[in-house]
Amino acid sequence: MATDMKNKLTIRGLKLWYGDFEALHGIDLDILAGKVTAFIGPSGCGKSTFLRCLNRMNDRIAGCRVEGDVLLEGNDIYAPDVDVVQLRTHIGMVFQKPNPFPKSIYENIAYAPRIHGMVQDGPDMDELVETALRKASIWDEVKDKLQQPGTALSGGQQQRLCIARTIAVQPDVILMDEPCSALDPIATAKIEELMDELKQEYTIVIVTHNMQQAARASDYTAYFYLGDLIEYGETSQIFTAPSNQRTEDYITGRFG
């Protein structure tokens, strides 16, 4: 039981179908609170699909069916009485392509707190916006141009703005779907550094194609292959001495 307390997300027997195609074959996984967990694996292995199960983004896809349990601190997020919209305020998401709203930087941050009625517009909102931007380490770069469009920022800044936007809702978990795949190495390093800071307060789950990024930025790594979770463990163990041969082959670049 003591170890269960540390689990933020507990996934048991998760299966997912797209129509008749079974994309995930029963995943069991514990995602620990306050850690960065990376999902790696070749394209089409189901890691992104699995990530999107964690905040029910797959609900939007027609013909997508999920079986099994995903527990957020013991609460089944697929229970019939769960409000999906509210769930996503607890489990936020950052996407592959930086996707700020075509609005001002300030509005990008203020939007979600406003629609959720967290704070009123005015000084409170100003403070919330500043806090979120500070936590995302982008405040110093944008504090003088809060009214400028978010889309005018560089790619890396846009992605940190998106992270700030997610933080503004004060979620428990932040899901990141290949957040650096469109960024240059410097911007990537900044995001990785940011993840390291954010894990003090949030549980972070990241999907990445870049194994080195998983190695650099995560505490735990899960390797997916063809809809199965092959191996899950501490990143340092996975990257020096994986116990499964398929993990070993993938990590060392033996893609067959």
């Binding site: 509210q86 996503r88 392509k97 629609i115 959720h116």
Partner: protein
Amino acid sequence: MSDASKSNALRADLRADKRKRRRARADMRFKWYGLTALGLAMLFLVFFFVDIISKGLPAFQQAEILVQVSYSESVKSNYNRAVDKRYRKLISRSWLRTIPMQLEEHPDMIGTTAEQWVLADYRVDQFLKGHEGHKLKKKYQKLVRQLQEEGKVRLAFNSGFFSNGDSKLPENAGILASAVGSVLVLLLTMLFAVPVGVMTAIYLEEFAPDNRFTQLIEVNINNLAAIPSILYGLLGLAIFINFMGVPRSSALAGGLTLALMTLPIIIIATRAALRAVPESIREAAYGLGASSLQTVWHHVLPLAMPGILTGSIIGLAQAMGETAPLLIVGMMAYIPEAPHSILAATTVLPAQVYTWSGESIRAFEERTAAGIMVLLAVLLSLNALAIRLRNRSEQTW
């Protein structure tokens, strides 16, 4: 050694020989075909404009004659007595007809005389403009020439063209009634087609599951956009007039019929605009816990709005130029007065143009051309508005 020979071979390969020159010439010809086609299209367009403008421009001027008008008591019963018998045939009957009514309204005018510019008969007008087939009798031709020398005949700006409705007398015929009709019909079309079309598109694009039923709807909408417009007239006749009892020839009947015709265009344009909004924006909103309504209303619609407006305006512009379906619902009518309600008999600009083009009197020809010019001006301004909106959408974000 081999380096040198390789370099020579490369130089030989790069040099233009017969085959390469032939290839270059083929490229050139290809370009010229395109240019020729463009030139031909331009030529037709120029011909059309020159023809229409040269025919239509004179209609914006109208002949007037300076005559002595005596508003005597007897004029009330016989308006022909108001002017000298010599000139009576030169003056438009449509003006003479109005004198008794004027006297009715202003009794103090009775017994006065005045020398004033009055509307000339269309034959005089045509004669003055030098058009063939003016049909002015020889003796009147002489009279007009004489008046001309005395400075008692002039070509003045034809304000009547914009302030009168249709008339059997060309010099009195104007576009006001049909323009007001067009505006009414267009407003009604917009009122029905835009909300219904946009909401349909939003549902299909954002909410509808992808199944046989929605696919069927989709195919049908695409097909509806391509069917001949006259069928919409039949549909409108059956539904709105015969079934729902909307008065024939009314702006309501026309507006509803055109709304039916415009719907698929607006739906298709709106769906395209919604689809052009990147999926990442929706994901961002959903990822932050926005509901479907909030996502669509706050993020998707504002981004799609210029596209929706452009599509709607183009659809409405098409509706504005449409004649065939209105023919069926009885809007090809003779309407001398601007309609006062959406249930009154109404005609529209293109229908008016069509009516005039069928008149046998030569003077209607220039009015037909002038009507086309007005219609074109309105359509071009609508299209310009659409382009402006599109450009703005490309600039902002």
